[in-house]
Symmetry: C2
Subunit: 254 residues, 2 copies
């Protein structure tokens, strides 16, 4: 956790006056991904799990599909640079996530219906139980109020947990870890996120064939529409003993 | 406000059981910016102030500096496409926000110290007062829990207010409106945001020469360092009658 935060002196001001105190803020690292000798993007991220973030980002952007397409990955943590060589020569300098064809389509061609989890059900009390555990894991947020968390569960077991100052990065770290560590997802897997569910988040989860997505926050209308189209059960505002089910509520049982 | 939200049926689940209710979610629009006949990026945004968002995004990415560099801007709201022609031929396909030179530098070359606001002071009670007003303006958030807000104040007067599902977009809408409507910023101008203050947010505000940035949320360590280096008073966690001052606290008086 130490590498994720920085302590610094601040001025705290309230009705009772002001005081100099030591406070904790979250660290932010600019990580530049160089793909096949070309500068692809600079991600602003938390300085942990950088290889997983890189792999997850490349996968989310559709630049790689499988682990063995990565020939080499060299991270220079000091410089904040990661160099990746892929098997396919990638000439695309930057591929927007959505919307070729003039921005009309909301789902890219690669979006396909979740084929897993057709049998899986989840009870409301289990959702509440999982969210309680998820909250307990979110240590950096508690300390700084500045990060998002994402976690992958297999049934009741936490498999992967990530934190990042960016909500996409937190998810990409989980997905990149799945990729690099050959962790399969499907069937009874559940993704939990602290962040809002917009279309890209939903697309990432559906592409990984994860049938259940639970968020502490709100979804957007496109997030809901894609969840509905792609067969993902989408739960939002899962806080305390309440939640909203936005799509495929048949998986949520008493 | 109607265009920013969508009503849909959801399943609300609590300890007292479940009920079908109508809920409100925030709308998300994929907006593709085509700059000089080249697809630049697709922003996922709230469907308001799209011209301001476009101008603000181009300015934030360093692709334009002044309004008169935009020769033409044509928005096709139906298709979610905005076509922009600029005076300078822009051959850069995509310019990462930070970090050329291998990702080492945290501030791009264009970052310069805020030259305004050397006299301006703000009292704690005025910060609390401004935040109360800011909260009242944030209507969509109240309805959906799904958007960020950003506002520009000149002394006690609200000049511009924007909301968006993305915290960068909310700021870019404000900055784009400044650009397109020739609204100067400096001296006694204050930017308020609901979102976290990472390095890009700080750089945008400093580049506009705004000496005071107040956030409801947390800053990152780079946000704090840049505020300190660039002469911006950075206030975070401004909630109720409390706040933290992370940089240039000399502007905050009793």
């Amino acid at each position: 956790m130490e590498e994720e935060i920085e302590r610094l002196p601040i001025l705290r001001v309230g009705e009772q006056g002001r005081s100099e105190v030591e406070d904790t803020v979250v660290r932010e690292l600019p990580l530049t991904i160089i793909l096949n000798e070309r500068e692809l993007v600079t991600l602003l991220c938390s300085p942990t799990k950088l290889e997983y973030l890189t792999a997850g980002y490349l996968w989310s952007e559709g630049l790689i599909e499988r682990k063995d397409e990565i020939r080499e990955m060299k991270l220079d943590r000091e410089k904040g640079v990661v160099r990746v060589e892929t098997a396919r020569a990638m000439n695309v300098p930057f591929k927007p996530l959505l919307a070729s064809g003039g921005g009309r389509g909301i789902a890219p061609l690669s979006a396909r219906k979740v084929s897993a989890g057709l049998q899986i059900k989840i009870s409301a009390s289990r959702v509440f139980f999982l969210m309680e555990g998820f909250r307990e894991y979110s240590r950096v947020f508690e300390a700084t109020g500045g990060v998002h968390s994402a976690a992958l569960y297999e049934a009741d077991n936490l498999i992967i947990f990530s934190e990042d100052i960016g909500r996409h990065n937190a998810i990409d770290k989980v997905l990149g870890e799945c990729l690099l560590r050959d962790i399969p997802t499907a069937d009874d897997h559940i993704m939990i996120t602290s962040g809002r569910v917009s279309s890209e988040i939903l697309l990432r989860v559906a592409r990984r064939n994860i049938p259940l997505l639970i968020s502490k926050s709100a979804p957007t209308n496109l997030g809901v529409r894609l969840a509905s189209d792609l067969g993902v059960t989408l739960i939002g505002f899962a806080r305390g003993k309440r939640m909203n089910v936005y799509a495929h509520g048949w998986r949520v049982v008493d």
